[in-house]
Symmetry: C2
Subunit: 344 residues, 2 copies
């Protein structure tokens, strides 16, 4: 690793890897996924069309459908349903983001107004429901029962993870074990499910299938830890999201857990006091964000969290060892690096 | 019909039919459904247990699972999955109520604090998601694919209906046709699906199946129109819900549509003005609720809406003509009367 979160801004603008290069082997399919999502949005009832265009048909990085397509591509699996399944994965991810943004009162996502901001909480709530249910409904249209089962299970896990996270808000005693259980459910489960779906359809041998699932799961953990770090260090103009939303919502992320461990009791109490002024103004007069970040940085909490992400990324890559060399396998390896080093 | 909404209060407290009498043939099964819902709540992860107990394991009238069990009972269909399917239907209904209560900021349901009131909007939102997804996930566990398909489709319809209703809030030009389309989706679809599921499992001949679905659909329409009337005329201590929530949320219900038609332009403008003060205080000083109700009543809008409900109830009953006389068939007939005459 030749970069740390404290590199100067100039350096951070030269990303080592671009997603369009990584996704080159599945470029055509991903374009079809985007078209599919757009068409679903267009076909919605008039009351839904605008909100659908604002959300589903403005896809993000498409990492989850990308994973699915890289693995089906590797195994040479081809089927007309492939694009629809990939789009369904992304639609489930969108549904979950739409509800997340309500919970966090987030105004900004992917550099645009969120559905919550543009259409209000009532509409966003119902549209998230609609996307969740419609996605599982679509999955039921495929002949293979397993598709709906895997997607319903992953969706349930995601929601459980969110609920457990919410229940632990502002809990400065949250353990790393509990944190990993939460992010495993809320984030890694859909990464894992994308890999499982691909293996399932391609009829992959059990041994490889299990390795690919572990790859997806670890990749999801890396994704979430980097997300936690970006919330602290990322620039809004890069990430397209509001900064410090985790702190504002009282979400206890890995860097915070590591920092808290090193704090004397008095410090803990002070921070607990700030955090609990929930949904209020961040108490800048008491301590500036910069001082707080500096402390996380000099105390080593940011660096050690990144180290953990690096280790998990290595573990993910190791799961690919049994795959044969191919452009798809190479992309899966590079995707690990991208997820680790991404700045948005 | 020997009662109208303007009967004196004393009379209204002597209901012609009790649900426990109507549901007598399926009493044991309904108790098992309640136990199933309670056990699901108990088995939830610790973060969910309290909210689950407050919602799913405090079931309401159980009309939808009741419908399902009466019809499977009529056909002599018995299977160990029957109770689970009935409980899943009720869980989907609960999920939808939990999200409704967030949208309406409702504090009261079934005479108790709503999940929204007791656990806040974030928790309720996620728990509603959890219930929806878990219910479809459970439906996938049954061997018959049709179960999940029917439930996912009905859930999608319910949400679409809610979205269309929300999009039409405060629209005094809403037509009856559009109103019936909305309530058909948001309410009647799950009634219909409960009947369809029962016929599907019992292997009912297509002709009877279609009659039973039409029965369920019309029963659902009656249920919703009576709900609209109860929101205007019901006593909170009877209904267990806040009164006038439709007006507060700008929901244009059947009595209002009928009244608006008879109003001069000036009156329309005045009422539009009140309605649009959304989420604010009801403008009591401008017009009292009682005057408003009196007008709906003397203008005939309440009476004519009840007449429409009566006609639909007759239509529902007519669909049962092809069933043979049996305690189950008798209960289905009586259920129509109950739904029409209910006061909560």
């Amino acid at each position: 690793m030749n970069r740390s979160l404290s590199l100067p801004t100039a350096d951070r603008h030269q990303p080592a890897l671009s997603l369009s290069v990584i996704f080159a082997p599945i470029q055509t399919e991903l374009a079809q996924v985007e078209r599919q999502l757009f068409n679903w949005a267009k076909a919605s009832s008039p009351a839904l069309r605008d909100i659908a265009r604002q959300t589903v048909s403005r896809p993000g990085k498409l990492i989850r459908p990308g994973l699915f397509l890289l693995i089906t591509g590797y195994f040479g699996y081809d089927n007309k349903d492939k694009i629809k399944i990939a789009a369904t994965i992304e639609a489930i991810h969108s549904a979950s983001l739409i509800h997340d943004d309500i919970i966090d009162s987030s105004a900004l996502r992917r550099g645009q107004a969120t559905a919550f901001k543009a259409f209000g909480p009532e509409f966003s709530l119902l549209f998230g429901d609609y996307l969740f249910i419609k996605s599982i409904g679509r999955a039921l249209e495929f002949k293979n029962n397993k598709i709906a089962e895997i997607l319903a299970e992953a969706s349930g896990q995601m929601i459980e993870g969110e609920i457990e996270e919410l229940a632990q808000s502002f809990n400065l005693e949250l353990t790393e074990k509990a944190y990993f259980k939460i992010i495993g459910k809320k984030t890694a489960s859909l990464f894992q499910a994308s890999c499982r779906l691909a293996s399932e359809l391609a009829g992959t041998p059990a041994e490889i299938k299990s390795e690919l699932e572990t790859y997806g799961f670890n990749l999801g953990l890396v994704f979430q830890i980097v997300d936690d770090l970006l919330d602290l260090k990322g620039e809004t103009r890069e990430t397209g999201k509001s900064r410090f939303s985790d702190l504002r919502e009282g979400r206890i992320t890995l860097p915070l857990i590591r920092a808290i461990k090193t704090w004397p009791e008095e410090q803990k109490k002070k921070v607990a006091g700030w955090l609990k002024r929930r949904h209020g103004e961040w108490p800048e007069p008491v301590v500036s964000f910069n001082d707080f970040l500096l402390e996380l940085e000099t105390g080593g909490a940011l660096g050690s969290s990144l180290k953990t992400a690096e280790k998990l990324a290595e573990r993910a890559k190791a799961c690919l060892a049994k795959l044969e060399a191919s452009p798809y396998q190479e992309s899966l390896i590079k995707l690990t690096e991208f997820v680790l080093k991404r700045e948005k």
